[in-house]
Symmetry: C2
């Protein structure tokens, strides 16, 4: 390792120390912050992010980066880190300070006007702010540059190296088949009504089950914890400090459990990244589409499977005596029902991707100017009708339901479906190994986790997501495995 490279590493480690300190403040804000402390917390975070931004975009960083590039890299990890640092540095420096501030302000105002518009069901309240946000997104895309269309530049913020046309191609093949599969799944669920949960599921008992499950699938509670928040998330405060959160409903214990399994999947990825490289690209998660593959793997492929409940259902019955007269089959039928729903976050596995495909198509058209802001509600409802066979009666239940656009997060949505497809593809490949498969059927997930550790987690951001998928599974993201998974789960059962 040469000196110039090492100096750049040190600078990035320092940036990561401040960044992870900010993550601690952010975690505290969502979990334990007293009400009146919010404005001081915002000042603390803004002070820290100002310092981080200055360090990551300043002349010192540039000089160290250039010196390290000049000296050259000695191995794959070094060259990947240099590649990612250069990419990040150039990307940050292409945006003038004025635009960064305007963007941050538009995002704040956007979220406020979105919340009001959603509460009042009046899209026109949000429209002018959305217009500004779209203009800013286009401005950024022009400054960052793109190959085919502006959407490339935005997508790349979440899915490193992804091209819109590649994602579009995957989704085009996927679209007619998932529409059909969802339709059949909904039909079948309608024909086989499931039992409903009854009675109260005490939160303490839910917490016990969640902790036991998370620990048993490999989450290290000496390097992480679970707390309660309104919106569940996973955040990293250090290489051995991964904080998960969840929320509890007393009428349904599976909501917090699947939430925890989802966040545990994120947490296992973070706990599996190379700890010594914390703060370097080689120690960071590579993309949202890969991150989401890990959360969905544990939530859906593990958590909603028969083998898992063969093991865990007796424990759930112990903790929740009202489940004592249920069979595992009845329970599986209840947790794996398919149903069209207006709201994305309430959607089941079978219909979830429809919500994403709708948004992805719409975003591209908005960015390319094919749909005017004022026409979004009509376009949304029309698409919804054609894909789901129903449409929302209000914009609150339609195009105003998500916060993403209001935050300026154009390009984010597609990573949810990429996560679904990647999860199924990785699961398929991992379980081709008979020892992984046999253990999985017996609810022993150590081999599955080892496979992910070795094939995904250990690589950090050394490879771009699609290169990582190819290395791990032999091919880039392919919808076939997810479709096969959904058919097995929703069409072969019952």
């Amino acid at each position: 390792m040469n000196n110039a490279y090492q100096e750049l590493v040190s600078l990035n480690k320092e940036i990561a120390l401040l960044g992870s300190a900010a993550s601690c403040l952010g975690w505290d804000q969502e979990t334990y912050l007293p009400k009146k402390a919010l404005s001081h917390r915002a000042e603390q975070l803004s002070c820290l992010s100002g310092k981080i931004h200055a360090m990551a975009t300043g002349k010192d960083f540039q000089a160290k980066l250039e010196a390290a590039e000049q000296a050259g890299s000695n191995n794959l990890t070094e060259s990947a880190n240099l590649r990612e640092w250069r990419h990040g540095f150039d990307k940050s420096n292409k945006l003038p300070q004025e635009l960064v501030e305007r963007s941050s302000q538009a995002s704040s105002l956007g979220q406020a006007s979105w919340a009001e518009a959603r509460d009042k069901n009046e899209f026109h309240i949000f429209a002018p702010q959305l217009e500004k946000l779209i203009d800013i997104a286009k401005e950024k895309a022009e400054l960052w540059g793109y190959q085919d269309e502006p959407y490339d530049a935005l997508l790349g913020c979440y899915e490193r190296g992804a091209k819109t046309s590649d994602v579009a191609k995957i989704f085009e093949t996927f679209r007619p088949q998932i529409i059909e599969t969802a339709r059949l799944a909904v039909e079948q669920s309608l024909a086989n009504p499931a039992r409903n949960f009854e009675g109260d599921f005490p939160i303490a008992a839910q917490q016990t089950l969640n902790q036991e499950v998370a620990a048993s699938i490999g989450f290290d509670f000496e390097a992480g914890r679970i707390d309660t928040t309104t919106h569940p998330f996973c955040t990293t405060l250090g290489p051995q400090d991964i904080r998960l959160t969840t929320r509890y409903y007393s009428h349904d214990f599976t909501s917090s459990l699947f939430g925890v399994m989802h966040e545990t999947g994120h947490g296992l990825y973070e706990q599996g990244l190379p700890a010594d490289d914390f703060g370097l690209p080689s120690g960071n998660a590579v993309s949202l589409g890969i991150h989401e593959s890990q959360s969905l793997l544990w939530e859906a492929h593990v958590g909603r499977s028969r083998g898992f409940w063969n093991k865990w259902f007796p424990r759930a019955q112990e903790l929740f005596p009202q489940m004592l007269d249920w069979t595992v089959d009845e329970f599986l039928q209840t947790i794996n029902q398919a149903k069209y729903s207006l709201i994305r976050v309430d959607a089941d596995e079978a219909t979830y991707d429809l919500h994403i495909l709708l948004r992805f198509a719409l975003e591209r058209q908005i960015l390319n100017g094919e749909i005017a802001i004022a026409d979004i509600p009509a376009a949304w409802n029309e698409s919804f009708q054609s894909m789901f066979g129903i449409q929302p009666e209000t914009d609150t239940l339609g195009c105003l339901q998500d916060i993403h656009w209001a935050m300026g997060g154009m390009g984010y949505f597609s990573t949810y479906s990429l996560g679904n497809l990647n999860a199924s593809q990785l699961f398929h490949t991992a379980t081709k190994d008979s020892s992984v498969r046999e253990a999985f059927d017996k609810a022993d997930y150590a081999p599955l986790l080892s496979w992910m550790r070795e094939n995904i987690h250990a690589h950090g951001s050394t490879y771009h997501p699609q290169d990582l998928m190819k290395k791990a599974t032999g091919e880039t993201t392919n919808a076939e495995y997810h479709l096969a998974h959904l058919k097995r789960r929703f069409l072969d059962q019952g």
Copy 2:
């Protein structure tokens, strides 16, 4: 307000933002940090404190300070802030970096060897490290400068503007009287044995009582909270973000309750400081001796009083049914027993100051070279015998019991007794006002809190502690009020 002053304010506000971010990391470390995350947390804190130190001692600070001094102050607050900034800046800059690092290392090693020595009851394990810590303390005192003796410079770290000879003079008057008062109190308690608590006091019920009491004496739970730690403390994460902690024993609910009332006293002071001046001397607590006066006021003068329990005992009985056959008198006798104890932190009000007077005298002799390190155990035991009439059988129960010296905190102990004396004196003065007194007797503490808000909290560090005492009570710290309080509590009752 002139520009030069305003620039200095801005710089100090930024330092305070980073400092309070570090406080958040510190709070999290004591409350929720996963075990394996400790070393990364240490790195985060060291990175932040490095940045804070550089900002508070650097050329930019110096230039801004000089410019502001040149421009002059417009009012009392500005001139107090300039005075304190100058004092702090000079003090920090008098220590070479090499000494700061050596001191920090000696403190780490000191705590480790102290812990081992205490566990094994072998003073000689700690002795070499203590020698180094004393040498460093002397070195610092020489660099900082002092008027009469090196101890002045160390004491001044905790009690701004205090002179050792003044404190010694207060303690000299106090000493024979407190020894006699303690003796009589112990005798009287022995003659009137109290009832013991029985059964289990559930933690949830303790928490309910603690929250109700803290809120009722004025702690704002929208600007603070209570969590659980091994060692109770109060820390400030922002002007409206005061975090208290406590620990619970299931055999005695009063331990956590008095702990919470103590920390609430600290918290009320912090919540009462001028919020707009957060991070400036005028918005900071002035000294440990004043801080401790606030915690002891609420723990001892309020929490152990008859009026308080006339109101709260029925509530305690509701929460802890095993107390139903107790009278308030019996309960007061139990919580106000005097007894000689070897361990300072277990001491009652009547005997607590003996522990401090012993340490204060010893520290001075050690600093002045009158006692060699190796002779500390013998000197400790001899003093103990003469003051308490008993002596520890082991050093673990004697001179090895406290962490303070191992941390390099020579000079700290005396602030505990100053806090006791100040609390009694402030309480005496406040309750000379008949409306404060009458409300106090009816367990209405709003007027008492208002008095403290106005006479202590509102002033931040504008006045030195003894000037503040004089302004608030008409005289500097005087032991007479505390002696009178102890005699009323321990010798007139039963």
